[in-house]
Symmetry: D2
């Protein structure tokens, strides 16, 4: 089983790209919360396609509808909240040819093996990035609850096509300096160059990848569990649930592997009566447990596997090599739309840990 | 809760660095297996310290004892198998000063917060790398079962202190060319330079980090689940359970973020009647489900936080800045001993998925 | 968390009596199944009210709609199946007075405490028997899959208001002799007397309880797990999820407590080359594992707590004693409608065990 | 998987009747607790055999040893606590003949099927009542924690061989009047008659069953979850994990099925400013959530299946009918020793719910 995220804030996601609806059932929301549908809608709009030349021309109106979980005053009532989003604007025909010839880099082949050919091929079925919409609903609701606890979660595009955004102070990430317009970066010039690389890839029928960096501030120290249920384990589990993620790292991540201990260790200091670390190379967790410093996590996204160029594949039915040209409308780079998705996955996970510790 | 790994091959690890024993309870082992104690012992010896100038001079005799789970013929009987290892050779005094002054880069501070000062400070308590010994027991047993299915799991040191081992063909990793002696690498010269860097760091009272790369071959296509229970999610959850891991990536990992789709997608081909990918940049899983190609996963290890150099920290009791010099005996680099631990975490997880699919 | 049933056939139920919809998300359905909506609808109709003078005059049209989980050929595709049922015909006003004065025997008081007054009081909220409708959907789908394996699940009214149905041979339960019309019993005369007792209770503004007995035939031996995940543990967990259940027993159940071992032990015999028990006092499981004999389980239902007679209660707001007369429309006896619900809970659980053993 | 009980106070039990050790790993114990080994030992002694002519002459010295989970001050440290008990005094020869001929009423047959003949036949293997010893360890530790919260858990023999103990006021159970000597009952005369029935059965080579009734007082209202994770679901799951339990009921249980609603509903009243129910027919939980009234739960135990009389069985190897006389030393009635086991299962479950609600 696999569509469930979380222990205390439990999100079960359902749906396929072209099923009548997609949605999420959320258990564990504290009772008495009035979901801020304005905030949630705005958050989900950041993920929705169609708003930018950088993304797919498909337009999705991801207006969620809440089917259960609220009392007659519109408050959460302790029952599971089910929210659904209608699927529409589906061009199922686009995918018919993929039944036999799997798209390289996609789950068409593995799904066909696993589900003995019964997988829903339309639009990538349950493997579609579309399924991140209900995750964003759950994440936005989580962010609403987190913000009441002073916890903020904010991600940026760290890199696209090898173009880096400006470095950030991990111990005091400049969350408010992340641009709300265009690509969410610190450096506007970097954003422009990234956008150029994306449009360039699109023109060539190709795609590019990138890295999203997410910060979470305001968490208390002491959250998380040792060994297999720590901050990193849980965030990694959540983030690898986002399509196209190939790597996850915390703090300095892979760069730490090339350092000396004397350079990597973050000195503890007392500041305003509180124990902090002077630097934040550790990324907010030691031994799987929060230090109270900002969580810093990065996810690497591969280039969109759906490209317009002809590709080599196979005919599964005839068991022979084949050529494939992927039709349909696709993002030349998933990274911009992945930013709120990363935030959602992080927010769900952090709220889960706060609820487990009964601090939310 | 956090000490449990797996759904079908369920490993619960217990113990602290200086508790009377450490061990693991393993549920879900198929009945009728005779644990190969010679193989298991040899595997665990690869993790044990004391065998090399590159590691801590502490010597641990990690001879496991099986307390339950076998019938009178020495076969697994369907009951949980509990294996324990005695702790000995403990110098608890070494750690007394750490009660008040947490070691930078360690869990001393976060454990003190989480457990309100009741955490076991001796030897790092439950956060000690020593707890990877029972994980290795469980992993070695898993490898025994995997090998009967034709699945091999083998890791190497990919990088230490910035020194790279030779590149490998991810589609056909040269598992047997990984050296069994000294540092497990493909390139003996790289191994010598890495060893030099480790000894150099030790001499300076410092430490270095590195990257372990693990391959698993022989898996069928179709293992794993979509979304949050895929190959990557599970392996990442397991690997972030190993102390000092800061990043996990699959296939080309973070390098994929800088590529074009046309360069990253692995073409499908039919070879000897079987569908394979020509290259293996995806690292063995698409959509969280195995493709049948080798699993390729990398874990980044930070430099050992325990260094002999004086460090800045705080007195938690007096709430003021303090100096700290960490005594005790420590690895200047955990990476060499982490190689079998990574194999163990991977083996446990892959067996878990095979059992879930009833293919083991 | 509490709305999840099952490990391999995982049913998450959501909704409240008066929420826009109620429903279930089902993970773990084998791919390639075409849900038999005719069968499912007929099964759910057995639970639906309005069809009989013995039940509430509320009419519910429990037509389920499948939102996800099917491919374009209408087959299950490996993705979670979400089915919903519209709530309609709600008279929310009926319940307004209950916010302050909890109904004896209901969850009004405990829900108000647990959810700090935010619980959905309308129609009993998430505690309503209405939530058994999505359970019946999941159960009917489970029965469809079970029947393909030769497993049949059938329950009867064993007792209402102290009136017993005819005894059954537990080793060979006469499933097909259970009446499809009126009350599902073996003995038509008993059914008539039970119906009389129900109508009599209704006339007096009172209610009656009873016992449902469920049989499952055709299961292989060897299903279930020792200790806490055996047949009895799982079935009991499921059955106590049905509102009003106060006791669950297997085989001879509480009657076994008064017997001698020599009378209670079921002799093993070889019949047609198969090992069976001559009698079935054990009810189909020994040590939590199926013997291959029919599962026999009984659930005791308390009399409907909603009665028309005036009752003593309290004002929670004023913290003083109060009187209460429950309005609304209620079943004078939940037992008849509980019969398919018991079947559904049993079917979901047995399919779960079969899938876990990969025998379905 | 099946040897795990609880979500927040997680008890994993391991061992077989004749494995070197049996034990439990307990996760989730709050840090800073000093286990009261005197209390725990005394509690476990109530379960241990050998102390009475009413039980088996086997003597077990169930002295538990704690392998992990304590810091250097003997306090729980947040790490899993593993406690083990040595197995000794085993006469494995007694069971050799059972490999082929399964004992009626035992798990020999089902275990042989499930584990393909690899099950540990010695002493019943993992199905042995001996495995309730580590459960009692976990339960005694739970009771220590519960008593600090004012929660008391106490069971009595309600019935043996059809002989009833005196009735108790369920709203105010006379816990302290339960005899500590001989059979734990309210009525000494009933205890003597029960003892006579047990000795009589033993003399005839037979066995008798009975009912244990357990009370838990001092719980706050509001514990437990709706639907499948309520008080009843969890307690039933735990209690059916005790060998020989055939039925579980709450409050009036099966007797409620024969009542009218007007007789069964417990009126709410305000007493000393607190909302209580006047009577406690509901047994302490409504809608799966505690009311604050005493929990009342009953478990029916079948007569010990091991009897000295010759019985009919089969040869599994030759697939033909066979005769069997069970040797070894057995309790003619498990009920007396089951009393602390029931308390342990209840205590573990209630502590689990309190911890989940962060009230312990």
């Amino acid at each position: 089983m696999s569509n469930l995220l979380g222990n205390s804030y439990r999100v079960t996601i359902f749906g396929q790209s072209h099923s009548p609806m997609i949605g999420a059932v959320i258990e564990g929301i504290p009772a008495g919360i009035v979901p801020d549908m304005g905030f949630i809608g705005a958050f989900m709009a950041r993920r929705a396609p169609g708003g930018s030349p950088l993304s797919t021309p498909r337009s999705e109106t991801d207006a969620p509808r809440i089917l259960s979980g609220l009392n007659d005053r519109g408050e959460t009532c302790g029952a599971p909240l089910c929210a659904v989003i209608e699927n529409g604007n589906a061009r199922s025909r686009d995918y018919d040819s993929l039944r036999d010839v799997p798209r390289p880099g996609h789950a068409d082949f593995t799904a066909a093996v696993k589900f003995a050919g019964h997988n829903d091929i339309r639009g990538g079925g349950q493997f579609s990035g579309r399924l991140t919409a209900p995750l964003c609903f759950a994440g936005a609701l989580a962010m609403q609850l987190l913000s009441e606890k002073g916890v903020r979660v904010r991600a940026r595009v760290k890199r696209i096509a090898g173009i880096e955004d400006a470095p950030a102070d991990l111990a005091d990430p400049p969350i408010d300096a992340i641009s709300e317009h265009g690509l969410p970066t610190l450096d506007g010039e970097a954003a422009r160059r990234m956008a150029g690389a994306i449009l360039d890839a699109r023109e060539k029928g190709d795609s590019v990848g990138g890295v999203v960096e997410c910060f979470a501030t305001g968490l208390p120290a002491g959250l998380g569990e040792p060994m297999f249920d720590g901050v990193e384990n849980r965030l990694a589990r959540a983030l690898f649930g986002i399509p196209a993620v190939r790597g996850v790292e915390f703090g300095l991540g892979f760069a730490a592997a090339d350092m000396h201990g004397s350079d990597h260790n973050d000195p503890f200091r007392v500041r305003q009566g509180r124990i902090v670390t002077e630097t934040n190379r550790h990324g907010g967790a030691l031994g799987g447990i929060t230090t109270g410093m900002p969580i810093v996590v990065r996810a690497a996204f591969k280039p969109t596997p759906s490209i317009a160029l002809p590709q080599r594949s196979v005919s599964m039915g005839r068991s022979e090599d084949a050529e494939l040209t992927v039709g349909g409308r696709h993002d030349p780079c998933v990274v911009p739309r992945a930013v709120p998705v990363v935030e959602a996955a992080v927010a769900c996970t952090l709220l889960d840990m706060l609820l487990e510790a009964k601090e939310a």
